[in-house]
């Protein structure tokens, strides 16, 4: 028996070691906090209050039941091991525990009613958020990344980005949610609840960030191989910084200035990149992959999978299937000079 135990332990340790080694091989970026209790917005605060109330009520009920169990065990009679069974109560009529059952049912109903009312009140509070002066953003989920389109009355002022949702602090945000393929779910626990993105439907989600910061989001509905690597980040900035970011995003990509970046642009325009990606201001206009117009301004690539640094970007372009097996981006074979130029060009797109 002990030898089997030892063998099991060794196998488990080896598996854990392999998992750790794999995890170290993939530098996974976890930007910001992913914590439903660290609320940073009005909607999340309401949900947090409801959560706290529910936990308090459930804890009280759990403790009361345990207390009752312990008390009843304590008060029941004890017998010695060798004593004969006491059968005297068989013939005696016993009063049922009518009163205690009645009390339990009444208290349960009252507590459940409290939770129902609290839930309705929370729902109403969530719906009552003022949408005056709201920021409208269209979110389209793809396997496995997020497309973000900032609309405007002026067509020239709309722009598209990916995986990093910038919002102004204190202003309500209305997300219009669509999906391009399968069902996904958008979840930023610090700011709001979950909302599914369902094929063929448009849904909306409203939230407001009250504190500046970076908040992690994650797809919360299993959507295929790389569901776990479908993260994104909400970046809540003070209004002036947000406006500056929007003004920068509305600009087309900067023309490459040095020879390396110019060569990088040529490489981009003649390789497979141009079949799926767009860079405003160039002839690349495909909409199947993330918009790369301002790639250099983002902190992560591949939906929060890798940090956006030249070395990681080069490894990603050379073989995305190493990091996200099954993703729709194919490997691109380039000479090391071409790859260096391409990465320099992409990182220059601030």
């Amino acid at each position: 028996m002990p030898s089997r135990l030892i063998r099991r332990f060794v196998v488990a340790a080896a598996a854990a070691g392999a998992t750790l080694a794999l995890a170290q091989d993939r530098p996974v970026v976890v930007p910001g906090a992913h914590d439903a209790l660290a609320t940073a917005g009005r909607q999340a605060a309401h949900i947090g209050t409801l959560w706290n109330l529910t936990v308090a009520v459930c804890t009280a009920v759990f403790c009361a039941i345990l207390l009752g169990l312990v008390l009843s065990l304590w008060r029941s009679g004890r017998a010695r091991e060798d004593a004969p069974a006491d059968l005297s109560s068989i013939g005696r009529h016993e009063r049922g525990p009518y009163l205690s059952v009645l009390w339990s049912v009444a208290v349960s109903i009252a507590l459940l009613l409290v939770l129902v009312v609290a839930s309705v009140v929370t729902d109403r509070a969530l719906a009552r958020m003022s949408l005056e002066n709201a920021v409208n953003i269209e979110v389209t989920s793809h396997q496995w990344w997020w497309e973000l389109r900032y609309g405007s009355d002026q067509p020239s002022e709309t722009f598209t980005t990916a995986n990093e949702l910038h919002v102004p602090v204190g202003r309500p945000v209305v997300l219009k949610l669509r999906t391009d393929d399968v069902i996904h779910s958008l979840w930023v626990p610090s700011l709001a609840g979950k909302k599914d993105l369902i094929t063929g439907r448009t849904s909306t989600m409203q939230f407001r960030a009250d504190h500046a910061g970076r908040y992690r989001g994650q797809c919360a509905e299993f959507c295929g191989f790389q569901h776990a690597f479908m993260a994104f980040e909400v970046i809540a900035d003070p209004p002036d910084r947000y406006d500056a970011w929007v003004a920068a995003q509305r600009q087309p990509a900067a023309e490459p200035t040095d020879a390396t970046a110019r060569r990088g642009q040529e490489v981009f325009l003649r390789s497979a990149c141009i079949m799926c990606h767009a860079i405003e201001g160039t002839s690349a206009g495909a909409r199947k992959g993330p918009d790369l117009t301002h790639l250099g301004a983002r902190t992560t690539i591949a939906a929060g999978t890798l940090p956006n640094r030249p070395a990681e970007l080069a490894r990603w372009i050379a073989n995305p299937q190493d990091f996200k097996p099954g993703s729709n981006m194919p490997a691109t074979t380039l000479s090391s000079e071409d790859m260096g130029a391409l990465v320099a060009y992409l990182e220059s797109l601030k």
Partner: protein, 186 residues
């Protein structure tokens, strides 16, 4: 005893065949992307003119034509790369139909591959150097499924968008007519 052994082996074989059909290969084969050969090809109709046997690497049938995942990816790429812009959902429009028995430049996988890589006169652009090799083979497999050339359990059954035609896996298999040089009407 023998019968049971046979039955078990048959079951295992069926199960293994199932895995094979569903196997998903994510790593591209080692070949590099095809170079832009558009200007080098002899752009004449007829299979032998533009495509010479042995001039293209022979694809692994099991990886593309007998793999449901590859055909499915081919179907997505067909739409994403706007093949549907000219060929519609196979019925043709500005480009020729792909769901019938007529093949001006050859119906074999390698001939279709060459057509995509090199381009053809009167509108078919050359995609050589633009699309990675294995994606071209996936598109080739899907294009062949349009006229029922693939096995029914490999061809796709569902489309993301509305489609007037029956699903690819219920289509009758067309027998490709012998390739012949196009008449003056083409």
């Amino acid at each position: 005893m023998k019968a049971r052994l046979l039955a078990v082996s048959a079951l295992v074989a069926v199960a293994l065949a199932g895995c094979y059909r569903e196997k998903r290969e994510f790593q591209s084969p080692p070949e590099t992307s095809p170079t832009d050969t558009a200007r080098l090809s002899a752009v004449l109709p007829g299979a032998s003119a533009a495509w010479k046997p042995g001039s293209q690497p022979s694809p692994d049938r099991s990886r593309y034509e007998e793999n449901a995942y590859a055909v499915n990816q081919g179907k997505r790429l067909y739409r994403w790369y706007n093949c549907s812009g000219c060929h519609s959902n196979g019925g043709g429009g500005m480009g020729v139909p792909l769901m019938d028995e007529k093949w001006l430049y050859g119906h074999e996988p390698r001939a279709i591959y060459a057509t995509i890589v090199e381009g053809r006169p009167n509108g078919m652009p050359a995609f050589g150097g633009r699309i990675p090799d294995d994606q071209i083979w996936q598109i080739v497999a899907y294009v062949r499924s349009l006229s029922g050339q693939l096995r029914k359990d490999v061809a796709t059954s569902r489309a993301d968008a509305l489609s007037a035609a029956p699903p690819e896996n219920t289509r009758e298999k067309f027998k490709p007519v012998p390739d012949k040089p196009a008449s003056s009407s083409q």
